[in-house]
Symmetry: C2
Subunit: 124 residues, 2 copies
Amino acid sequence: MPEQEGRFAYEGLDRLIHERARLSVLTSLLTHPKGLTFVELKAMCSLTDGNLSRHLSILEQDGMVLIEKGHEKNRPQTLCRITAYGKKRYLEYLETLEQVVRDAAKIAEGSKANSRGRMRPAEA
Amino acid sequence: MPEQEGRFAYEGLDRLIHERARLSVLTSLLTHPKGLTFVELKAMCSLTDGNLSRHLSILEQDGMVLIEKGHEKNRPQTLCRITAYGKKRYLEYLETLEQVVRDAAKIAEGSKANSRGRMRPAEA
């Protein structure tokens, strides 16, 4: 009995958002609606200046983020915010991401129940 | 008050698994522990022969899937299965994916509550 065609295609996983660094940036901005400075975003996402600049520029060109160059206490400061369009796109993406988690979670639950309760190794 | 460094870095988003086609393939195989034929997998993931072959080969080289070429009713048939190692890697990845969903879900809930209850456009 063949399952529905495309059942696991996850076409809603928007490639622009799915890339790990951009997913980090957008989730940070979504959860900080007043915006984050370039410096804050860089630290939260553990990205280099160059990588963050590159990904922000891709997202800005697509209209998903807004980048404002200004000053704070006479020092240049770049403020980044998610746009209403970016939020809409992210929330559509999130629906598919939640579906992936739902599909996998039943199996994951079974595995945890069957595991021998081994501890995760402590982080170095 | 600065938030924890790397709070949104999501370093557990294993690049080998996160790529959309491979996430499709691995989720299909995880939820079908007896394995799927190449033809079934292709349909479930909406991939072309070439794309599926390429991604399966990447996953096989990494030890995450097992590919057995055999015969069924005198016709060649390729059976694909996730390995124990592949399942372990996927479940580690899933923990971070669930964290992304948790981080975003609070905001998403707020948005749904604030929306005007507009229906999603029907699929064409």
